[in-house]
C-alpha cells in the first residue's frame, strides 16, 4: 500500500469521525437559542449557519456553538450568564434569518427559547433575604416572574419575597440568569432550554 493511500485512509477516517460526531453531538445538544425558534428539530433542519443573526444582534448576545455541539456547531446560541438576550422590540435576529429557522415573532411574549427555573436550595429569597433581582430585571416583569409573598415559618412579622416563574409566559431570554446576585455554590436560576424541555416532556 502506498503512503498516499494511507493518508487518504486517514483523511477518510477523520471525515467519518467528524460525521459521526455531528450526528451524536446533535442528539445531546441543549443550547439556548435566539428568539423565534419553533422547535430544536425545526431549527436544526433550517439553520444554514450563515451567522446573520449573530451579526444583527445589537447586544452581541449571540455566538456560534462550539465543536462539541456536533452538527449544531456554528449555530447561534446564547450563554445567558455571560450576555443574555434583551428581547429587542424589533427582533433584528429574527429579521436577519434567511431560512425561517427563526420566525413568527411579533411581540416580546412570543419567543419560546425556554423558561427559567429557580433552585430553592440556593436562591437567597427562599432563605428570607430581600433580593428580587431576577424579578426587577425581567423584561416581562409581573408576567413571567411575579413575587409570591410567603409568611416565614415561626415568625409572625416577616415575609419571604419568593420570585415565581410562569414557564408558559417566560421566553427564556436569560436576563435573570445573567443578573442573579448569587453564584456560590452555583447560580440558582437557569434556563431550561426548548431542546431540554422537548426531550424531557412538556412544561410542568
Amino acid at each position: 500500500m502506498s503512503a498516499g493511500k494511507v493518508i487518504a485512509g486517514i483523511a477518510a477516517a477523520v471525515l467519518a469521525a467528524e460525521g459521526a460526531w455531528s450526528v451524536a453531538g446533535n442528539a445531546q445538544s441543549k443550547l439556548l437559542r435566539p428568539p423565534g425558534i419553533q422547535s430544536e428539530a425545526d431549527f436544526m433542519a433550517r439553520c444554514i449557519k450563515c451567522g446573520k443573526c449573530i451579526e444583527a444582534c445589537p447586544y452581541a448576545s449571540l455566538h456560534a456553538a462550539g465543536p462539541s455541539a456536533g452538527a449544531a456547531a456554528g449555530t447561534p446560541c446564547i450563554d445567558a450568564r455571560e450576555q443574555a438576550c434583551r428581547l429587542c422590540l424589533d427582533f433584528p435576529c429574527v429579521a436577519a434569518c434567511p431560512t425561517g429557522a427563526l420566525r413568527d415573532v411579533e411581540k416580546r411574549t412570543d419567543p419560546n427559547a425556554g423558561y427559567a427555573r429557580i433552585d430553592e436550595e440556593v436562591c437567597i429569597a427562599y432563605q428570607g433575604y430581600r433580593c428580587e433581582v431576577c424579578y426587577r430585571i425581567c423584561p416581562l416583569i409581573d408576567q413571567a416572574i411575579t413575587i409570591d409573598f410567603q409568611a416565614m415559618e415561626e415568625d409572625d412579622i416577616h415575609t419571604k419575597f419568593i420570585p415565581t416563574i410562569d414557564p408558559h409566559v417566560c421566553t427564556g431570554c436569560g436576563l435573570c440568569v445573567e443578573r442573579c446576585a448569587v453564584d456560590e455554590p452555583y447560580v440558582p436560576i437557569r434556563i431550561i432550554t426548548l431542546a431540554e424541555s422537548e426531550r424531557s416532556g412538556a412544561r410542568q
Binding site: 493518508i7 471525515l15 445589537p58 452581541a60 465543536p67 436577519a96 434567511p98 425561517g100
Partner: protein, 297 residues
Amino acid sequence: MSDEAKKDQKAQAGKGFPFTVVRRIVQVLVLLLFLVPVLVAGWGLFGGMVGGDDAIATPAESFPFYGTLSSSTLFGITLLDPFAVLQTIAASKAFDPAWLLGLLPLLVLYGLIRGRVFCGWVCPVNLLLELVDWLRSKLNIKVEEHVLPRHVKAWVALGVLVLSALLSFPVFEALSPIGFINKGLVFGSLAGGLTLLAILLVELFWGHRVWCRAICPLGGFYEVVGKVGLVNVKIDHDVCIGCNKCKHACLCDPEILDAPVAGEDVIVRAGDCMLCGKCIETCPVHALSITAGRPRA
C-alpha cells in the same frame, strides 16, 4: 500568410489577459469583503465580541453588505447559497417562496456565466489549495494526478441532499471547509475544521486537487449548473499544435480539454470548467480564448 507566420503574429500580440493575477485579486477581495462589516462595526474577527447593557453598532447595520457565503444581504437584498437552500428543503421537508427569491440572484449569475466560476473565483478553499499546490512544488512532494473521476462530486452532492433529508439537518453546512474559513473568520464558527484538515492531508500527500476536482459537493452542484453558461473557453483548431500543455495547467481536470484539443469540440463544454484561465495563459500558440455564447461542436 503561412501558418507559421500566423502563429508568430498571435504570439507577438502579447500574453493577453492576466487571468491568474486578476483571479487572485478577486479571490482575496472576496475573502476580505466578508470581514469588512465586522471590522467596520468594531466587533473584530473570530466572533470575540460580547456586548453590554447598551445597544451597539452591528455589522448588519454598519455596512451595505453583511453575512457569509451561505447567506448574505446586499443593499437589503437577501442572497442565499442555492445548494444550502436545497439542503434546507431536504432537511426541513418544507418550502418557502422567499428561499427561491433568495437563491435566484446567485443561481442566475453563476448559471449565466459558468457554474464553477464560484470555485475558481470566489471559494476560499480553492484559494488555499492553490497555495498548497505551490507549497507542494516548493517541497518537491510528488502526488498522484488523477485519483477519482471528476463526476464523483455531483454524486456526493446528491448524497448530501439524501443525507440531509434522512438526518434532518443541512449536512454540508455542518461539515463545510468553506464555512470553516469564511465563518470562522467572520464569527468564530469552527464547524468544518476537521474536513479542512483531512483535505489538506490528502492534497499534500495523496492526490492533486482531489477535493475540488472530485469530492466537494458544492463544486458538484455547480458542475451541474455549469452544463449551461454563456462564457466558455474556445479553441482555434487551426492554431492548436496539440502540445497538451493546457491539460497539465487545468485547475479542474485535464480530461475536460480532451475533446477540444482532439478537434472534436470548439469549446470546453464540461460543467467542470471554472474559467480560471490557466489553459489560456499556458497555451504557447494562443489557440485558446474566452468566448461568449455556446457554439455547437
